[in-house]
Assembly symmetry: C2
Homo-oligomer: 339 residues x 2
Amino acid sequence: MLSERRLEVLRAIVQDYVGTEEPVGSKALTERHKLGVSPATVRNDMAVLEEEGFIAQPHTSAGRIPTDKGYRLFVDRLAGVKPLSTPERRAIHNFLDGAVDLDDVVGRTVRLLAQLTRQVAVVQYPSLTRSTVRHVELLSLAPARLMLVLITDTGRVEQRVVDCPAPFGETSLADLRARLNSRVVGRRFADVPQLVQDLPESFEELEDRATVSTVLATLLESLVEEHEERLMIGGTANLTRFGPDFPLMIRPVLEALEEQVVLLKLLGEAKESGMTVRIGHENAHEGLSSTSVVSVGYGSGGEAVAKLGVVGPTRMDYPGTMGAVRAVARYVGQILAES
Amino acid sequence: MLSERRLEVLRAIVQDYVGTEEPVGSKALTERHKLGVSPATVRNDMAVLEEEGFIAQPHTSAGRIPTDKGYRLFVDRLAGVKPLSTPERRAIHNFLDGAVDLDDVVGRTVRLLAQLTRQVAVVQYPSLTRSTVRHVELLSLAPARLMLVLITDTGRVEQRVVDCPAPFGETSLADLRARLNSRVVGRRFADVPQLVQDLPESFEELEDRATVSTVLATLLESLVEEHEERLMIGGTANLTRFGPDFPLMIRPVLEALEEQVVLLKLLGEAKESGMTVRIGHENAHEGLSSTSVVSVGYGSGGEAVAKLGVVGPTRMDYPGTMGAVRAVARYVGQILAES
DNA sequence: TTTGGCACTCGCCCTGTTCGAGTGCCAGCG
DNA sequence: CGCTGGCACTCGAACAGGGCGAGTGCCAAA
């Protein structure tokens, strides 16, 4: 168990290192923080902290820098979540209130978050399966070609074209549309496949029946597969702020960010509720081993429909970042609820 | 007027510099290219080329590197467009053929282009105004809330929600929908505003008339404003290949790439037909002054509906890049025509 | 347990030096 | 007149050495 003062020393080290980006020594520490003890004492504490793996020195006769484990302890026990300043809150409102549709909301959110945290922002679109259906529209583009448009309560609009095995009459189409809507509107998208399972059988003509079933299957399947999880990223220019050795780090990070799969997995690993902070090597992905990811779910109601967060250097201002991420998530939730 | 041999020397310099990323000297030149003359002669030629502003030396007693003007001469008169290899062509086909919708086409194109050229790829969505309308759908989400879905022949699907001044009956809606479609389907989107101008007057009830006109106005306007020009970028990780001094360059470039406005302007400045190469300072934008942009229009028919291209260091393989860009653009055009 | 003192370590930075690629100029040659 | 070989020169890159100083670990005393 670490004494109170040693924790205080760790906190001071983290804060100073985050501020200056340079290894921090015992003397500088006692000068900048009123720890009430001498540098020598701090040195002893540092020796212990190093032995425990919370800090390390880049080379002998240099100051100490926190390790991943040190940051972990810091966010778990030493740091709170710093609430935003009033101007910052106002900025969020001003910036987000002008959004006209979901794409716009997500786009603005990503820019806002990047600006606020000065890091890379990642915002996931509301998950299809967790949204409820507001409307389903069926259009016939050509005799044997249908388009399904799906609209959710979170504002997502997804569409897909499917070629039918046989032409499909206008009346049958209207019929199908009506039945489809009466069944699924107001339901969660996740339940839709079940809800429409027996739909084909309710059609009398055999060939219509076949068409309906194949079409429905394809549509639902591909909608989910292709569009279930989308996301937007922004603020990559902030990667250049990673620190003195950013040229080495930026490459793998950019590559990871380009792989939506990687990012989705990253967000997927985060807790369903509450804020998640993954530090350095805690991130499974190789290229992100010197970054931290702060993420949180957001949603229109109590339940989260998607996640958003930021990716930054492990040496980041955790309280501030967490504050910004949380505040933005909350307000985005409100926006979605209103629309 | 530059002699034939001097042009040959310039070509050799460009090729070597692109290959090695290092200033090239007279001796190395004569060794790697059979120019048939001695280093001393090459030196004289170089002196002339330098005087004319086609090449420069980073510092005294270093080799020469091409200037923007030198590259310009190179692409204009010395370099052709290198056709792709058969495997490369096959890769394009394989990669692009699996696309299921427009988003997918654009996404795949961007990845493909980035991979092929090992540079940053930019692909513009087909312009709304240059596409023709395939279908217009009007949905009533709530009594006084409409959604318009617009589908173009290039596969774009755009939607927008509008709050109406007054509730709008289901019959009126169907009526409007029918009239709307009969007027605009098959027409170019650019003409739509004119075509629907007198639509409100054809409604008998006064309040319907008001609703229709305001709604139409809002819809068309905002659709064009917000969605007219979208684009997707990819391959930003390739920025790390910019050269030895990439840490300095990457920042402004990333910032420029994040501003869609900048990119759209960039593509907008390119010629409507044929390939455009903008080298270094020829690009208006400050941050892109050490990059070159190779862009070309693509479209389903003879006419271009949008542009695509790559952004790379001025020191790039122009013939290869131009070949890749052109090939991809052609094939994307085909894909769009088929769908 | 804390503290002041002290010797020690080791990376950073400045300087001087060497090395060599590349240049410009010139005289001679075809 | 243009090309060539020779030659002196320049100047940055790379390396080595040395002083500096921040920071450490250890120890003896309070």
